[in-house]
Subunit: 331 residues, 2 copies
Amino acid sequence: MRDVATAAGVSLGTVSNVLNAPEKVASTTVERVHAAIDELGFVRNDAARQLRAGRSRSVGLVVLDIGNPFFTDIAHAATGRAREHDLTVLLGTSGDDPRIERAFIDAFDEQRVHGLLLSPVGELPERLHRLRRRGTPVVLVDRDGRGTPFHSVAVDDVAGATLAVAHLCDVGRRAIAFVGGPSGLRQVRDRRQGAEEVVGRHPGARLEVIETPALSVLAGRAVGDALLRRPPATRPDAVFCANDLLAIGLLQALTMTGDLRVPDDIALIGYDDIEFASSTVVPLSSVRQPTGAIGSAAVDLLVETRADVDAEEPTHVLFTPELVARRSTTG
Amino acid sequence: MRDVATAAGVSLGTVSNVLNAPEKVASTTVERVHAAIDELGFVRNDAARQLRAGRSRSVGLVVLDIGNPFFTDIAHAATGRAREHDLTVLLGTSGDDPRIERAFIDAFDEQRVHGLLLSPVGELPERLHRLRRRGTPVVLVDRDGRGTPFHSVAVDDVAGATLAVAHLCDVGRRAIAFVGGPSGLRQVRDRRQGAEEVVGRHPGARLEVIETPALSVLAGRAVGDALLRRPPATRPDAVFCANDLLAIGLLQALTMTGDLRVPDDIALIGYDDIEFASSTVVPLSSVRQPTGAIGSAAVDLLVETRADVDAEEPTHVLFTPELVARRSTTG
DNA sequence: ATCACGAATTGAAACGTTTCACAACGCTCA
DNA sequence: TGAGCGTTGTGAAACGTTTCAATTCGTGAT
């Protein structure tokens, strides 16, 4: 910057003003400085800016698995919203490993990030509290933060399941099966709970729970094969799967033989509305999570958090998912 | 850091030494300083370190689309390899937009990144040369860099297609169809070229080219439907799809009616080996790109680039993909 | 008792910005 | 003529590290 100042025949402070508050500088000077910048190929040093500013213009985002479209979409939306605030999103994947999660938190702390968005692996690590105490806003993503001092943005899985099963009832089904597992996963438990609530409210409706070892296509196919072997009278007339992969596997098993038609004999609905859901042989109904809204809301929460740090009660945003009805339930 | 020094009763320089070269400091002192650090909750300021060091410990990675598993895998591998060098990967998605690409390059430049990994949208922007001239190593990813002053890591799509079609010939097929498009895409052209080369070498083999408007499941299904309507004698006995999505659509169309069996009547092979390829009704043969190796190699190239900057001839790494034979070709 | 030496520690400069109190200048107005 | 004002521009301090030459100290050799 000093070189630019010399080349333009002005002082260092003026160059800084041209960069940060050009309206305070005479237009002829501005031009001269810009000319010098171009000629010298000057590029600001962000480290020095940050050092001076005390915090960076970046926000850290640590997700469980960047390969998961759910998080990819959140990251994408967060990046866009951050850009509106002239912030950059730094992305980290913990891959379900608490040590990697901690390493990222530490790294972001050292970088004095503007704020931290975290989809936590398990227990909230102590360093998170330290961050907050030092004035860095923290927002939990995809985790209900009630009971913690942190803001949070999450999705109501119980409500999502309610939507799905109510839809099955609406199209006249009563013998409903819930397929999902392992039940150690919160998502699986919540979605099952939502299903149970709806069935409880519908006189004549019954819920059968089929637990799977994983949320995968293959697990779904196994369930489908099992259903095919059962006497027709004992089969459900609708299946709600805890995610789309299961539903796809089920659909494969059912359509492969052609003995059972979807949705005529069995209606099928999944969860997550992955991209592939609309491209299956029978387009799959599903429940879509508002990933974009989650990412944007998280960034907003972060930006709105003023220096009031402790004064402030944390805000908890809980989104409700959206039903996407396709042929697998509506015919 | 000054506070830590005071608390531990040592000088500022000693604290720095404890952090960066503990072997040069008496062990009792080291302990005392660490105690002070813990007590005060001291966290290094990365901006100051970078300012002093002149460059950051981050490398920038700009990909076309982080939602694409190909790039997700590359990013993942690059992150891991970078960690071995005590570097952090900053991820950006250009989304095929040259302006966003430029914005990321500028941002990374301001951050004085250690190096830049770029999967370029189109023409290489001028700022890329500026970066290199100032000593920041640049590595092109998924783009052959011959003819440019930049290192590059890419995959040989022609060779991949060769593998696929040679495999089809090996299992006895001769009437082969290539399905892919639009042919404006380099990948599509290269894969078609590879197919043509193999067929040209195989006496008796013939290649039919079926152009599609997109590389999607739906486009594949349309091709499948068209094949079903053709008189059996005129149908190919093997299809090589330019990517897995096309192959999945084709498979859906063929298996839905049950008139044509895969692989008995038509063998089918895709490209990319996406996760879903192994979970289709008939597991899909495919060509796997060594995404992990690409990410690692790119980081290695970056790290190995010494200050020799201009002296150095750029290195070009070209990986050969790998055949993944599943039931859709082998029965 | 002196010296040389290595190990441990110190102190200050430097990195490249931003910020802010202040100076310089040209006006207008009394 | 000079006071007062607004507009431009200046210069130095400060941000928190790392680095390196210089200093101190204890030890063994002479």
